[in-house]
Symmetry: C2
């Protein structure tokens, strides 16, 4: 019997992935870039075992047995064809996976889940593979999963080849390079997504006149610019590009026919607060980004974390565990002169997850 | 003494104007196209008089004396330089203007107001001018006002010349060509606009990567296509282009930095209802369009007006004057099988103005 247990992190993109140029291989229309978040607060934990006594593959997600669907079958088939250990070619596997955060929170559990799965299978089937090589397999399970194979700042290069072998994740900078970057995940609603992201992004590819302009004319420069910002730890520039690209992505959703909406009135109020705060401070205090849902992820430097947390909690909470000094006291101490109470929307958030930049997958 | 009283209509664009290539002359980055609405329900009424006894120009808006601002001064100066009647070169004018609809309703009162003003001044100062010639002067007061110089379907050709002389309105088809087109104006909120449209559109010009792509690559084909749809009275095609272009315009607003939001949760629910209804019917029953605010304008064919009115009133009302059969009864009669109650948001609308396609300015 062989068995390995791993954990893999969540990542939140700052240059967004939206649109596939090849649906079967999950090849994207544009490169993307993300920040890996700490596994202390959110991760997927996966155990893979191979044993002669198994007569079929099996999958247990959060303690419930699940069917093994098309994408997982493809991933398993890929590992069986890649392994150089003849005894594994026909061996059956048992996969057990849990998340330490609620999937209903609207966070991208598929990314950490597929990354953990592929990292674990890799350790068993192809132990010589590096994480970039594994990322091309993870990508075929869930596109953004490929970015969870690394910690810190991670680019998913879209690649050029038709077989997808060069569409992989690479580390732009490790967590240690910019270790005081924190993230506040503001959970607006636990509702299911209005439009599943796989169906949504293909509707955008088919109907939005803006998408290819974004992919070809807008994103490449942003990838270069935000990489510079990360290398230089330039938070102002990092924040500016992050917010522009979030809005650019949601604009292509709105340009889809019929349109796709992920942002709600509460999302918009959070956006308004961040711009008002940054303008009053004369610098970027926070940067928002929104995935395919209404929840805001706010990137902040650690020195500003308590301030931003208190603002969000005072205006959109109260949220459990976020109590502290009032935001007006902290604004005063920070010498930022702005009245944000116009943005108030009590109970707009159900929870705030306080986390930070993190490292890549680990063998437990 | 010379005196003339006129009325001019409101118009609602189906291909949107957003962005100026010349701010001083109000020259747009793209052509636009609108439907003129009936003056029975909404119009501006303006009286212009010239008398030797006046020793200064004066302006009364809705019975209150107002300052004569920059854009109105420019319009007056233009007429004084154009007139061939020497006695008018130095004559002072009194202008009195009222709207028969509340300006606070978030509707484009500046378009009908400037159109009425220019039409009235034209009758006094340059009686030989046709409405397209007058539209170039109206455009300098308020861009979209130029389209209110005609009834029916009106294109504002962006023009090519630097002095703006070819940036004028032309009639695409008169009201009589497609007389059974109705409009329901769904007033979501009487709040002031978050961002004034003049400031907003220039922020978009300066910061949105999508805007020039829209102006150069997207709008020209839509102008041609919707003109065809109008000529052929093809409501499906008219509705499809109208909805896509509204979303395209709001997507450029979201792509602006900082982003501009006009649509609210209620706006989005109305959009969702229209797509669900059209899909269930297998044809376009209604087409939505949103200007720089949260209010929906729904274009419908007269045969569908009662059905759409009852849907909107049942889901988002109750609104005064919109009572009638329940929408589920009317859906059943129309053999459209769809449950729209998931979209319900009681009291989301403050009023619904029922109107129809209308004719151009009139001398009273």
């Amino acid at each position: 019997m062989k068995e390995v247990t791993v954990t893999a992190p969540v990542n939140i993109a700052v240059i967004k992935y939206w649109g596939k140029r090849n649906v079967k291989l999950n090849l994207p229309t544009n490169s993307s870039l993300s920040v890996t978040l700490s596994q202390d607060h959110m991760c997927s934990k996966t155990t893979v075992s191979v044993d002669d006594s198994y007569d079929t593959d099996s999958l247990f997600l959060n303690d419930e047995q699940n069917e093994i669907g098309g994408r997982l079958s493809n991933v398993l088939a890929a590992f069986r064809s890649l392994t150089e250990d003849a005894s594994l070619k026909d061996a059956k596997v048992k996969i057990t996976s849990t998340n330490n955060f609620p999937t209903a929170a609207g966070l991208a559990s598929s990314a950490s889940g597929f990354a953990a799965l592929v990292f674990a299978l890799g350790k068993v089937f192809v132990p010589t593979y590096n994480n970039s090589q594994l990322s091309t397999i993870a990508r075929q399970g869930s596109g953004s999963a490929c970015r969870s194979l690394f910690g810190g700042f991670v680019a998913w290069e879209k690649g050029e080849s038709e077989d997808g072998t060069d569409s992989s994740a690479v580390e732009v900078a490790p967590k240690s390079h910019w270790d005081d970057l924190d993230a506040l995940i503001c959970v607006v609603s636990a509702n299911k997504k209005a439009v599943a992201s796989t169906a949504g992004m293909q509707r955008t590819v088919e109907t939005s006149p803006y998408l290819m302009h974004r992919a070809e004319q807008v994103v490449p420069q942003r990838m270069a610019d935000i990489t510079d910002a990360i290398k230089n730890k330039d938070f102002d520039k990092f924040a500016d590009i992050t917010m522009r690209d979030s809005n650019s992505f949601h604009a292509t959703c709105l340009d889809t026919h019929p349109p796709i909406f992920y942002l709600t009135d509460v999302s918009r109020l959070i956006i308004g607060v961040v711009h008002a705060l940054n303008e009053a401070a004369g610098r970027a205090v926070a940067a928002y980004t929104f995935d395919a849902g209404p929840n805001a992820v706010l990137y902040v430097q650690r020195k500003d974390k308590d301030l931003v947390l208190s603002i969000v909690n005072d205006l959109f909470g109260p949220c459990e565990g976020a109590q502290g000094a009032s935001h007006s006291t902290l604004l005063h101490e920070a010498k930022i002169d702005v009245d944000l109470t116009n943005f108030k929307h009590a109970n707009g958030l159900s929870r705030i997850i306080q986390t930070t930049i993190g490292d890549g997958p680990r063998v437990v």
